[in-house]
Amino acid sequence: MAPINQRVARSGRFPVWRWVILLVAAVYFLLPLYAALRFAGIHAFGAVFTQPGFGSSLWTSVQLGAMTWIITMALMLPTTIYVHLRMPRLRRVLEGITILPIVIPPVVLIIGVLQVAPLALRATMWLLGLEYVILAMPFAYRAIDAGLRSIDLKTLTEASSNLGASVLTTLRLVIVPNLRTSLLSSTVLILALVLGEFTMASLNLVQTFPVWIVAFDQDNAQISEAASMLALFVTWLFLMLIVLVGSRQARRTGRGEVNLFSVTTTTTTTIGES
């Protein structure tokens, strides 16, 4: 496969075309950042950390990220594995169900949620976390599904149970290590989602970091803008770190490269069957 890949890369007839596109994209994405940076000024960045509410809202967001991640994994990992092993025909159905949270506007969903949720849960972080799991489901499902399709799950589990392993042992020692890259990519997506979500958090009256930035805007636009750019940059660094570490591990174990929506094995590629 390698020579073919190389040949496609070499025969890339559009090196100029490619650079023009990337350049235009870079201008479109970086110029507004530069303009805002000039407006905010450097000193605003230092002031961000000492603002009231900075620490507590960031902590809320981090807790939400952890909560969402734990519940999503606990729910989606066993379900996806189970469907792959026992009910492969349901995969299509699951794919269909998990597309719903992406296409249904969060603002519509939150109306219904606030109406049916028990009073004690309303306007709490817990309700928000539980709903973030719904929003995170599509990404988690797709990543885990792609990972499962790239391994021979049936053989692995059968071999493992023939050797006397329990279901939990198989999950812990056989399946999860094989899914490391897909779990990593879904972790990245879940965290990016939770750290950036605004609509549901603000309508559910929870002061997460994005909500704090906006609320803060009323008092000091410069510092607020600096905070949001800082958040953007830190989140990016964080994701970059996860992906780099993941890819290094993947290279060592001979597994594929980490992408955000899929796990590419070295010889073949996984693609949604849609």
């Binding site: 890949n5 190389q6 040949r7 496609v8 890369a9 890339g12 559009f14 075309w17 490619r18 990337l22 994209a25 994405f29 110029l31 507004p32 303009a35 805002a36 000039r38 407006f39 729910l75 379900t79 189970y82 792959h84 026992r86 009910m87 492969p88 699951l94 719903l100 992406i102 296409v103 506007p105 969060p106 109306i111 219904g112 606030l114 049916v116 709903e131 489901m137 021979d152 049936k154 990245v188 997506l189 990016a192 950036g196 309508l203 906006v214 805007d217 953007l232 989140t235 890819s247 992408n259 955000l260 929506f261 899929s262 094995t265 010889t267 073949t268 590629t269 996984t270 693609i271 949604g272």
Partner: protein, 322 residues
């Protein structure tokens, strides 16, 4: 010599059966333990494994959506059935809101859809630019979740009437505000939406691009196909269903964008998502509390119609694939 031959064969088999090529590995029909049970009982037992997922989706997604739909037809005070919410939601400023929302979403779907595809293709073919790929992909993950006042501000600082880029452009003789551009109109908002729509497109279309096997291109070239012929007869049809599903996703994302639109327009353009938000924030005339739910119902209907189109188009695309 023979040994060498065998090696090559082994190598080829390895390529053919490489992970991921086979459809649904581990497609075990049912567990051996349950094999002795009669059919219906067996089916029921197998369903047990997806109960937690089903319950969670029902509680967190389906029941709230049903509540919205039911609420759209209820009188807020008595709970009795009424058409009045739906009537109000389909008239005047709300109807205009739907119209503008759809127009904006189409603008903010088609242009970013194409741009995102081009960018994704550019970084996908740059096989050696491993680092470039990772930078673009992670940056996409961040930008796709960026929005609200911070995003609005980025553009106010660069494309506002007296802002940086506007100044540069008028310095070289192009005053975009004289040519009818304004950040606070529908097209201006669409330009801002592209900031999270393009990265979203890059993220969701990449796996599909990765499904285009280099071998197909090779085969096409060996048979003398030009580049456009490859795209017309091989790459395009293969990519089309995924491309369409990504567009649907983008449309949903544009339609539901709430914070950005609110920050940018502060109500100058009627958009359905903002109108729903204002109902939730309590800016309601008494007796109209459920109009927000009727608006929500309207949005779900729009999405449903688009999904039906998508399924029809996808069937078409599946035909080309045969």
């Amino acid at each position: 010599m023979a040994e060498r031959h065998e090696l090559i064969v082994a190598n080829m088999t390895d390529v053919v059966t490489a992970p991921g090529t086979r459809k649904g590995p581990g497609a075990g029909r049912f567990s051996p333990r349950l094999a002795g049970l009669p059919g219906p009982l067996r089916a029921a037992f197998r369903l047990v494994g997806i109960v937690p997922f089903t319950v969670y989706v029902a509680l967190g997604l389906i029941i709230p959506l049903i509540a919205v739909m039911v609420g759209a037809f209820q009188d807020p005070n008595t709970g009795a059935f009424t058409w009045s919410n739906v009537n109000i939601a389909s008239q005047g400023v709300y109807l205009e809101g739907f119209r503008q929302s759809i127009e904006l979403s189409l603008l903010a779907t088609l242009i970013p859809g194409v741009c995102g595809l081009l960018i994704a293709y550019a970084i996908f073919t740059a096989k050696r630019g491993q680092f470039l790929r990772q930078v673009v992909i992670t940056a996409s993950g961040v930008f796709a979740n960026f929005g609200g006042i911070p995003l609005a501000f980025l553009f106010i600082a660069s494309l506002g009437s007296t802002a940086l880029v506007t100044g540069w452009l008028s310095a070289v003789g192009l005053n975009i505000y004289d040519h009818g551009f304004s950040l606070y109109t529908l097209s201006g908002v669409a330009v801002v939406y592209m900031y999270f729509q393009i990265p979203l497109m890059v993220l969701v279309i990449l796996p599909a691009l990765e499904g285009l096997r280099p071998a197909w291109r090779e085969a096409a070239e060996n048979m003398g196909a030009r580049s456009w012929q490859y795209w017309r007869y091989v790459g395009g049809p293969v990519l089309m269903p995924s491309f369409l599903s990504c567009l649907i996703l983008l449309f949903g994302s544009a339609l539901s964008a709430y914070a950005t639109a609110e920050a940018l327009t502060s109500g100058t353009i009627p958009l359905t998502a903002i109108q729903i938000g204002s109902f939730l924030n309590g800016n309601v005339i008494s007796g109209q509390q459920n109009v927000g739910k009727a608006l929500g119902l309207g949005m779900v209907i729009i999405i449903a119609v688009i999904m039906v189109f998508y399924v029809l188009l996808q069937r078409r695309a599946a035909k080309w694939l045969r």
